[in-house]
């Protein structure tokens, strides 16, 4: 029988260390909505999403109440629109984004992901229409998230698309300049994008998935931080074991919530994403975990090693706690969504270059980084190319969600609000990569041997 101390431990994690289930994301296939008429297509996807996700928010709230665990977000991911809408005779998918936005509002989810294209090897006409629609779509909708997969370890890097996305990101920033270029916070480019990721902005429902599936993202940087406080000064064995055990406990809660949600929604359980996802709330920070390990600030020498051991042990503990693990699974290092990261940038301890190094060992990549609005589109493409190369060579998922804030300079602060937080504008290395980016074509897939 469960003991009082165990009950206390769980409730302390929830109340003091901000343990929560970050998101229940319902993946919905839109492949059966294909239609040559875009208006009919939009109606079909609206109907399918609102019918399938009708009870999502209510179910989430019921589970939250019964188990006493906050479930912060209820979200939806759909088939990449460039695939689902490929049969439509049209030159713009902006109306599709509006249909997605309306559906999201109707069912009460705060984000819907899947305004996406997969172009790692090349883009077809539908992919081109989608990418061209992104700046307007993100400016005119509120809840739609967009992602583009530009590279994979098996296919290499589509440098034409890398170049294009530098421009699309700049245009998106320009189109939303009245709101601190917030459109870019809803746009991410990937290398090796997972098809079952429940986290935004990069969630989409992969084509290898079934019709409908429940994916759950757990979180709890605060819980890991609290657990590490108890082993301050102890050796690395103790440190790693503590992270592992904590990750196990956190993930077990996610597994329970996922199974319960799947049962109640009558939808199969997909995966648990073992991510440590920070929020701007005090005590919900990855940087503070790194500090607790013994670094003065995130970004100090030792940061990459600390992050590597954190990431690895979260996986080791979490994998045993869930029957299916997937998504991004690891520690996120967004800047604007993490108080400790913001502090580190302001103190001058954390630079874009150090963040890039950290992305070699964390779960995703350059995330929620605000840069000067006058950064050239080639420089943005260069940053993306570097990040794609890290993912491609190391066989991991990497991503870039970068925000060139129009009208702001290094040292200014940009406020995105809510879970997106705020961020100081970070300096960018402005030596030109123009000629490199304008070569065009693809970088071939890497060799899978001689891992040196």
């Amino acid at each position: 029988m469960i003991t009082r101390l165990e009950v206390q431990e769980t409730n302390k994690m929830i109340e003091e260390a901000k343990l929560d289930v970050r998101t229940i994301t319902l993946g919905i296939s839109l492949q059966d909505c294909a239609d040559s008429d875009i208006n009919r297509f939009n109606q079909k996807i609206y109907d399918k999403i609102t019918k399938t996700a009708e009870h999502l928010v209510k179910t989430g709230e019921e589970i939250e109440k019964e188990f006493g665990i906050p479930i912060v977000n209820k979200r939806i991911s759909v088939t990449p629109i460039s695939i689902a809408a490929a049969g439509c005779q049209t030159d713009s998918y902006v109306s599709v984004a509006h249909a997605l936005d309306r559906a999201a509002k109707q069912v009460g989810v705060n984000f819907i992901g899947g305004f996406s294209a997969l172009v790692q090897k090349g883009s077809n006409p539908s992919d081109e229409i989608l990418m061209n629609s992104i700046p307007q779509a993100l400016a005119e909708t509120e809840r739609v998230c967009s992602s583009v997969n530009l590279a994979t370890t098996r296919s290499g890097i589509n440098m034409d698309a890398v170049k294009k996305m530098g421009r699309i990101i700049k245009q998106t920033a320009q189109n939303t300049k009245d709101k601190d270029s917030i459109g870019c916070a809803k746009l991410v480019v990937f290398c090796n994008a997972p098809e079952d990721n429940p986290f935004m902005a990069g969630a989409f429902h992969g084509v290898g998935e079934r019709d409908c599936v429940v994916n759950v993202g757990v979180s709890g940087p605060g819980v890991v931080k609290k657990a590490l406080e108890a082993v301050r000064g102890k050796d690395f064995e103790t440190l790693c074991e503590t992270v592992k055990k904590t990750a196990f406990k956190i993930t077990r809660v996610g597994q329970l919530v996922a199974q319960e949600a799947a049962k109640r929604l009558n939808v199969p359980f997909g995966i648990i994403d073992l991510s440590l996802a920070p929020t701007p709330a005090i005590g919900d920070s990855i940087a503070e975990i790194l500090e607790e390990m013994g670094l003065e600030n995130a970004g100090a020498p030792g940061t990459t090693a600390a992050l590597a051991l954190l990431n690895d042990n979260v996986k080791k503990g979490g994998v045993m706690a869930s029957s299916y693990v997937g998504g991004l699974s690891g520690a996120f290092i967004p800047v604007s969504e993490d108080q400790g990261m913001i502090r580190a940038v302001e103190a001058g301890a954390l630079t874009l270059e150090k963040l890039e190094a950290m992305t070699c060992v964390c779960s995703v990549g350059l995330d929620m980084i605000a840069i000067p609005g006058d950064t050239s589109e080639e420089t943005i493409s260069g940053i993306i190319a570097d990040e794609m190369a890290i993912g491609m060579i190391n066989g991991k998922t990497t991503a870039v969600r970068i925000i060139p804030v129009i009208g702001k300079r290094v040292g200014d602060i940009v406020e995105f609000g809510g879970l997106l937080g705020y961020a100081p504008i970070m300096p960018v290395n402005n030596f030109s990569c123009r000629d490199f980016i304008h070569r065009g074509g693809r970088i071939p897939a890497p060799i899978h041997s001689f891992k040196n």
């Binding site: 469960i2 165990e6 206390q8 431990e9 019964e66 329970l256």
Partner: protein, 89 residues
Amino acid sequence: MRGIITVVGKDRVGIIAKVCTLLSERQINILDISQTIVQGFFNMMMIVDLSNSTENFEKNEEDLKNLGNEIGVVIKLQREEIFNSMHRI
């Protein structure tokens, strides 16, 4: 369905009585009680069986929370599974 009730707050007369009265009115059976007082701080955990409850889970949770507010303690009702998941393999 089994639930865990936790009551935490400053000790005073009648906390257990009030909680138990509410439970008995609703046919909620108490399976186990464990309680301590440390430096005037009251800390109780109950395991209860809700299968014959006359009210639904949500209402029980809400009313216990409100009862807690009335007597100045924090009362939570949660399903047992969350604790079993976390602490038992």
